[in-house]
Homo-oligomer: 140 residues x 2
DNA sequence: ACTACGGATGCAAAAGCTTCTCATTATTAT
DNA sequence: ATAATAATGAGAAGCTTTTGCATCCGTAGT
């Protein structure tokens, strides 16, 4: 029994071909951050028969199940990332779209404090730093 | 000469009725955070003749001119806020949509450090804390 | 004030992303 | 294997936002 199917079972999801393929795609992706369209196109190129609607449905289910995180980067469309290991935030390049990750306990702590001071019960947070990455800075 | 028209002139924009009205709307809004649709509907209710396309166009121009900031809160559509005074971040209620603001120099400093460490030239950043506000926490 | 020019507006249509509908197909428990 | 039930694919629909175009308005020069 593969690791993927176990993940699906644990999440209370039936083990189907599309779900397996999408999970694999997320695991093997180099960038780790994919849009629904990215996943869809890659699967088509791999010769899979899949509908875009299914990709969206499955990704949403994965999000609900906690398997993936959905990010709303600038530009409107959602990006999905496999949830493995610890929480982290993102720093992204506005020129080439590169995405790096970081984690800062000082910031995390301050956020919790700020929410508490404001009387909020914190449920989530998102921090994106935008900039020009090392590679793009060179190219004028 | 009104304050609004000066703002527009400084931004290199012609002083037109729609632009004036939208600027007033942003200045007088209680919540300070409005979607394009919000602005459009409010202006219609005030008896103004305006098109939704114009609202979007003008808000984008205002953003380019630095008069307003555009935020991408969860849920897909953009929110616009008048740029007055200093930078700040947002904490919002996932139940009622309430938006509060905060500013934390510790976090700002850490962000700059993180960008520098990663070799990025920082251009922008966005931090949203999501939670349940004091009012909504009471209501079970 | 008057005119002419160029930019601004409104409407409708279009575009882009995401969700929904529904007939068909696949998965699971029996 | 079979029946019950959930998942899928294809296209239509929904929403926010943008664009094309004819018309209108602000502005600068007279």
């Amino acid at each position: 029994m593969s690791t993927e199917s176990n993940h699906l079972r644990k999440a209370g999801l039936k083990v189907t071909l599309p779900r397996m393929k999408i999970l694999e795609m997320l695991e093997n992706s180099e960038t780790r951050h994919l849009s629904a369209e990215d996943v869809y196109k890659s699967l088509l190129e791999s010769g899979e028969e899949i509908g875009l609607a299914t990709v969206y449905r499955v990704l949403t289910q994965f999000e609900t199940a906690g398997l993936v995180a959905r990010h709303h980067f600038e530009g409107g469309h959602s990006m999905f990332e496999l949830n493995e290991g610890d929480h982290h935030d993102h720093i992204l390049c506005v020129k080439c779209g590169r995405v790096d990750e970081f984690m800062d306990e000082t910031i995390e702590k301050r956020q919790r404090q700020i929410a508490q001071d404001a009387g909020y019960e914190i449920t989530d947070h998102s921090l994106y730093i935008y900039g020009i990455c090392p590679d793009c800075r060179g190219k004028a």
